[in-house]
Symmetry: D2
Amino acid sequence: MERRMDMRRRATDFDVEEQFNDNLLSASHADLALEARDLASKETGGHGIEGLLSHVEEDGEIKITRIRVENAEAGRQIGKLPGNYITIEVPGLRHKDSQLQDRVAGKFAEVFEDFLADAGIAKDAKVLVIGLGNWNVTPDALGPIVVENVMVTRHYFELMPDHVSPGYRQVSAVAPGVLGTTGIESSEIVQGIVEKSKPDLVIAIDALASRSLDRVNSTIQIADTGIHPGSGIGNKRKGLTKEILGVPVIAIGVPTVVYASTIVNNAIDLMHHHFSRQTSNTKEIMGLLDNLQEQERLELVKEVLNPVGHDLLVTPKEIDQFIEDIANIIASGLNSALHEAVEPDNAGAYTH
Amino acid sequence: MERRMDMRRRATDFDVEEQFNDNLLSASHADLALEARDLASKETGGHGIEGLLSHVEEDGEIKITRIRVENAEAGRQIGKLPGNYITIEVPGLRHKDSQLQDRVAGKFAEVFEDFLADAGIAKDAKVLVIGLGNWNVTPDALGPIVVENVMVTRHYFELMPDHVSPGYRQVSAVAPGVLGTTGIESSEIVQGIVEKSKPDLVIAIDALASRSLDRVNSTIQIADTGIHPGSGIGNKRKGLTKEILGVPVIAIGVPTVVYASTIVNNAIDLMHHHFSRQTSNTKEIMGLLDNLQEQERLELVKEVLNPVGHDLLVTPKEIDQFIEDIANIIASGLNSALHEAVEPDNAGAYTH
Amino acid sequence: MERRMDMRRRATDFDVEEQFNDNLLSASHADLALEARDLASKETGGHGIEGLLSHVEEDGEIKITRIRVENAEAGRQIGKLPGNYITIEVPGLRHKDSQLQDRVAGKFAEVFEDFLADAGIAKDAKVLVIGLGNWNVTPDALGPIVVENVMVTRHYFELMPDHVSPGYRQVSAVAPGVLGTTGIESSEIVQGIVEKSKPDLVIAIDALASRSLDRVNSTIQIADTGIHPGSGIGNKRKGLTKEILGVPVIAIGVPTVVYASTIVNNAIDLMHHHFSRQTSNTKEIMGLLDNLQEQERLELVKEVLNPVGHDLLVTPKEIDQFIEDIANIIASGLNSALHEAVEPDNAGAYTH
Amino acid sequence: MERRMDMRRRATDFDVEEQFNDNLLSASHADLALEARDLASKETGGHGIEGLLSHVEEDGEIKITRIRVENAEAGRQIGKLPGNYITIEVPGLRHKDSQLQDRVAGKFAEVFEDFLADAGIAKDAKVLVIGLGNWNVTPDALGPIVVENVMVTRHYFELMPDHVSPGYRQVSAVAPGVLGTTGIESSEIVQGIVEKSKPDLVIAIDALASRSLDRVNSTIQIADTGIHPGSGIGNKRKGLTKEILGVPVIAIGVPTVVYASTIVNNAIDLMHHHFSRQTSNTKEIMGLLDNLQEQERLELVKEVLNPVGHDLLVTPKEIDQFIEDIANIIASGLNSALHEAVEPDNAGAYTH
């Protein structure tokens, strides 16, 4: 006899994740285009992928990688849609250095402003910022915290247009909640809001899962391809894309969690490199593990971990502070990038 | 020269309130129908108002007043739309008695279930619960806290209808934020969500302003007239009504704040009663104040207080605990009233 | 038969307040020396009080009043202990102007540093900051929030003294909770901590009750007389003074609540002034109320309000934001005043 | 030239951990006696350890293991002090089943009451509950959350002893903060409070690190050996023991975090078991890894992970909800175990 839902539980998104979400996040899934590319190129033995352009630039502690997926075939190979992806990596963000945080906010603002220009977004385009994720789950609260710190101005334009100073554009911001706590797909909620408030552009902020503990809370990805089903931490069965919303969607994501299985897999990888620097006979040390393709090995790790329910999404214990810091960087950066009148060096004053 | 907006401030709803809201809440405004009626009947010298029916019932510490505004003229006289209003008053809620809280949740469930039936709402009508108000302003957070504790089920019906036990109906729940933090009228956001998720009924929860400190945090009002511009604490220029949303709207409100000016006015009133029990010569003691109509006196008090910006909305210092308690009562009561399978006596288990 | 304690209630400080605290806060009580002086001088018909020195200085929007109670007799007359009291009043703090907040933090730091010097506190005196009050009651959470934002350094001196940069002194900080949530007098907890950690000076932060809505959240008082039983919002039956702790105690207080009865009384006062500017015949308008001494009138107001339990401590509805802002001002100011290496103009960077 | 402390950072416990704590938590460290025993017996090839008694009992989904370390030599072998350790394991706690939570609270109360009796603690012994850990770091906030939900009564006994109902004992509760936010060892703060408030028993609640993701948030350990330096998540250089405080100390711990390195090590272990069920030739598959002692392999994993700073403490993404749930279980259980008048089946009513 089939099991009936136990409504006694408090309604959270976890119930739903457990029940519907199991196969959404496959082992080969990578939220970051950077990781998807590395994964793919490892499997092709390092051969370049046609139609996949990368460019890396470093500015002190800040590393910026631009990836362009030029066509569907390149997209298929790395599991990402055609489009532009920028990754900003700053390992130093793990060390709570407030001056570095200010620099990263400034850099993010600069990069984001250029990204808007390249995407052909007008300087006075009306923007709706959407903070995806669940307030009550710290590593999933990135979007809602950014929304809380973004400077909203749309109501001034609507209600007292003559009083708005030059240098500002119309910005609104909503955190639509998650399916498990609202009972409604966040995609549907956003569609409804877009139809009523008629922005020219949606910027969607989301927490991501990374394949590497290194990148958690120290990496920001910008993409012009929107939010796709199955991406991010939560449980999105419908996406936020230009096709669905009718306006361009730029996604900003930060990896805040990592799968236990990828930690293990990465460790085995590191061991391989470690031993191969010391001996040519890594096979003796690592056994057959050494010969497996990354993908096969990951499946093996999951097969081993899953029977006892091990494959949890985990997050560093200091997540509360990290999420505040990176949300403030993004909010400051957005305030400065979206409003000419807000200077990069005092954008922080607009967040709390 | 006109003053330009100071964007440097953190974007909150207060800016907007200050700038647009000044004359929304007039001295004669009463969010509670009960208070509106008392105010009106005092001015008519206690004469009954045609088309205004009242009925009071007491169940131990719980007092329930049912007011029916039968026509537009009666509505005009008390400043309320025609419709049905129920007020549940429980002064004992101020004393953190958890057994009383359970009893009130049970009573509220019972009253609310009957109210739905009287309003012709079907047992399987799909419900969208809207929690109005601002998360970050404790006395305005009633709606969002109720939403967080309401049991949502709509996604189960949408995604795995065969697995839903009998005795549940479709419930979804959203806290749309406030104009000052989203830049969008909450009314517009709700309209968008209603169009996409297609509920049969909207239940809107809102914090109210009372004319009496007594009623703050100890009173629940249910009304079938929806939410109207200028009601509640916040700044609603557009309402949530059947006309706007296309489905019936039932409003649940709790007074959580009171105007400083009404505290003063009430005190002068009390003094009048106090002295009139001791002497027939209250005029000598109270001066001309004694002769003023309530409305004139309130205007006088406001005139006196306003020049120095005194007319604040104030709330008892224990508001944090009070708002949690009453939000839990409402959420428990709704869970039990909306789902047959949830028993009134364990409805508390479904909130956290 | 006597009533037994109802343990069923959640343990909070309110139970205790209700039961023990009733007569601690008399109508004539004023937490602010400024208000105590005004109250006393009003009763003496404006005659100066011997041994009571006042000095006022204004710096833009910031008004600083220094009151010195020179002897016990002057103290008795205003109900304050002999000592030095500084009040910083900034009505503009109500308007969320972040630049003004920075200026006030700088001014507070300057005033506080001088105050320490005048009190003979050495530049390297070890400081213990005590944040009195209850985390869970927003208007009483001032002390704990300041403690959370104060820069603590004592552990660096203890554990790695050779690595501490010049320009810092030893600072520790504790929020000891309140009697209702710990079961222990906060005074006893602080005594225990002082004996173990051996600071040279205790700085105690506390939320106060004001006699005027005007001063709530816009006034900071500094006093070298410590914390006395019955002062502040909470329920302190034992104080924090040099006699009890063995080291000097400087108190920093901010009024965050006001009694409903004092709002009424102030309004009557304002009406008196209002009418007396328009007519000499205020007596006709105000009745006998006009002739009563402030103290008698306040008693009358309380007599009238109390039977129905009206005399609540109330706080503005925006208390959440206000308390954050003023706690940040105090924490920034302390960081700058206590550590030479922290500049007034970037002290804010040390709070979050 | 040596690096000076960067005071610019926000003062948190992490700075301090990084700087002082590095070698406190060695690879062989196990906070849970259960894990320490398993680790030791694995190294002895499964031979029993003299002076180490274990007893396991299962009650439905609840597994209770009692370990008695009879002498110093047995303690040395498993790295635990002589004493009694009880571990309550309930894997089902991961699934938010509120009825199971109630059962576990009842069972915990029962076990804890017997533990007190076995330890010779009198029924009217005065208890001080200490919640160790940092409010602002979710997985470290277990102790403070328990303290917030424990029913405190000491002040009633002190202030109105004639009014206390029978069936209650004196309980007080304090969360002393962590070194990084107070600047004072929590051990010193507790010593000071014990000397002033004179309890007969201290119960210390702390978050632990586990060697296994399985046990995180689903395991409760009770021990009569107090809190020792280097145990738990935080950075305790001084313990809370009978020697230091002068009264018995019972520790209650819940693993809320796990080292990334132990996840990897456990996975390798699981692979070994996995393959050995399928083939006798695990060596070919696993290479030399197969032959390494657990301890050597863990060192190897750490050596591999550390160069890039991988060995983080991680926690499941749902930590916010888990920590609330288990803190409520412990608080309910304590309320029922400490006060005869509180029934196990309604103990939940005393927490919020």
